[in-house]
Symmetry: C2
Subunit: 341 residues, 2 copies
């Protein structure tokens, strides 16, 4: 008996695996960037961008901090240009990315860095303003946020290995060669859960999302970029420890709370929220990432992979079900990129 | 003709000034802590706490970063204990505070630091668990978030002066001797605005608050600690640059958006939001902090003082009007500190 075949709406498995293979094929190129940066030497890393990129970098910063002593800063690109930063010096490396390659603030911050003699790295699409001006560029035209994580990990975790701080890098990178097959299985396992959540709660006007640690940036991203931007739903993202210092008072019989239980050191903070919700919340969903570990990937990499897992099941699956039930296309925007503002 | 007398609800001017004088009187004690830390030497500062304290530290981190090259980290206390931090070393200084002196996570993080031989500084109330265990303690039993800022500035900005990075410290500290009289005038100027906002919008189920730079931590705090915790109102706090990468899509004729225009380098980001709101938002409030500069304080300190100003007019005034109109006591909690969870 094989696994039960699950038909996932708006998902093309073959295309997904093909794109995954393309991203994996960029490994040598991305590692070469890390080698160059390591040889050149650097004082610290600045991860900068806007919107989804800032959110991804929030999680990546945590991953780097958990596995290396590289000083790493995550700063919104627009703020960085206006405020500057006393830790941003000629020997800093500024790392950024943009799916479209033309995000205004991201292109501007790279230009701003170049004027100051600060080296920049970008992962983006070919023949775009960003691809043209960054010092070190890797051209990747992928979808799926998990692929963004994987691409940057080939640089960031390689840097940690080169510093002698992440000796497991080779094993990690080797396991990533087949991570997309594993992620498909994770998606399939989550599919009925996604369908159920969207069916039951798509009419909610407001929902609170709670999470912590390495997936906190992604919890923020899902509320901001998917639910707010693409579905026009009012949301609140709050971290598990901060939940108890304000947002808990909103919990009542009408308020939907969605808790993401992580698989890193902060998990006890999520469990504390779970205990509270079980006592006081009527409408709640608990997504436990320990049920969605990636087959074929060593459990010791669970914290590193948890943003990839969270994204593959939410932005990658839950969003499609949300769209299906609300009838509100994920592609439709009132304002964003519709005109200048 | 003198200034028009304004009767501010739930505000005792004499008590406010008396408390202000008490906080100012702590200056030598707080500066002495800075002197000791400077002489001892340190690699970096960790600002840690939970809830309101984390929010205040978010703004203070920005102020320190704007005026000094001291490496400064702001980390939630509960996360810090579970994750540790590779930049937190024996030569770090951990700075924290708690109004009550018994905030569970804050007391625990100081204990956790001591076990690791890391020196701790706390500003808190006498005869409390926190006062008893921190290495350097200043006992201040004050209300008014502006007083929390002032207390910590006497340490943080003095440290910057000792590093030769903030030569204006003496002028700043001297002007702070009369800052509370100035803050009363600021409150009086804002009073009719606070009354109007609360009267017009106290029935809103949801409100979005937008701000940036040095007051971003405070915008977060007002939504979290006042509107959510004390008034049970659904909120979203979003920074001015991030607003354009998700939350803007929620703007319609029914959604209340409150924009705080700051007085620091990030002001153009707030102005961009203002321009957008003027075109597309029906229900909006714009609080321009340039209208509330503190009399008697040099304009060059506007960024440092803007969190104090924002707090004195919102947590200090708007909250009282909100309570007046909603009839929901700011003191009443469903869950917070009502029992263990």
């Amino acid at each position: 008996m094989g696994r039960r075949l699950i038909n996932m709406i708006k998902f093309e498995k073959d295309e997904y695996l093909k794109m995954g293979a393309m991203v994996v094929s960029k490994r040598p190129e991305l590692e070469a960037i890390a080698e160059k940066l390591h040889q050149r030497g650097y004082s610290n890393l600045f991860l900068t961008g806007v919107g989804g990129t800032t959110a991804e970098f929030t999680s990546m910063k945590k991953v780097v901090e958990n596995h290396s002593s590289i000083p790493v800063y995550c700063v919104n690109a627009a703020e960085l240009m206006l405020e500057g930063h006393k830790q941003l010096i000629r020997n800093s490396i500024v790392i950024t990315g943009s799916k479209s390659g033309d995000t205004k603030e991201t292109v501007a911050v790279v230009k701003w860095c170049k004027e100051r003699g600060i080296e920049t790295v970008a992962i983006t699409k070919a023949e775009t303003p960003l691809a043209e001006i960054a010092d070190h560029v890797c051209l990747i035209d992928s979808s799926g946020v998990e692929n963004t994580y994987l691409s940057f990990y080939y640089i960031l975790l390689k840097l940690a290995e080169l510093r002698g701080e992440f000796p497991d890098y080779a094993q990690f990178a080797s396991e990533m060669e087949h991570v997309h097959e594993g992620l498909v299985q994770v998606k399939e396992k989550f599919e009925p859960v996604a369908a159920k959540i969207a069916k039951q709660y798509h009419k909610e006007e407001y929902q609170m999302w709670v999470g912590s640690g390495t997936v906190w940036g992604d919890v923020y991203m899902f509320t901001m970029c998917i639910l707010e931007e693409m579905q026009w739903k009012r949301t609140k993202a709050v971290s598990s420890p901060e939940f108890f210092h304000g947002s808990l008072e909103l919990v009542d019989e009408d308020t939907l709370v969605i808790l993401v239980k992580g698989v890193d050191a902060c998990r006890p903070l999520d469990e504390r929220v779970e205990k509270f919700l079980n006592q006081y919340a009527e409408k709640k969903v608990i997504i436990d990432l320990s049920n969605y570990l990636i087959p074929g990937v060593d459990a010791k990499f669970a914290d590193i992979c948890s943003p990839m897992v969270f994204e593959t099941i939410t932005t990658g699956r839950l969003a499609a079900h949300w769209e299906h039930h609300t009838g509100h296309s994920l592609a439709f925007r009132r304002y964003y990129r519709q005109f200048d503002y």
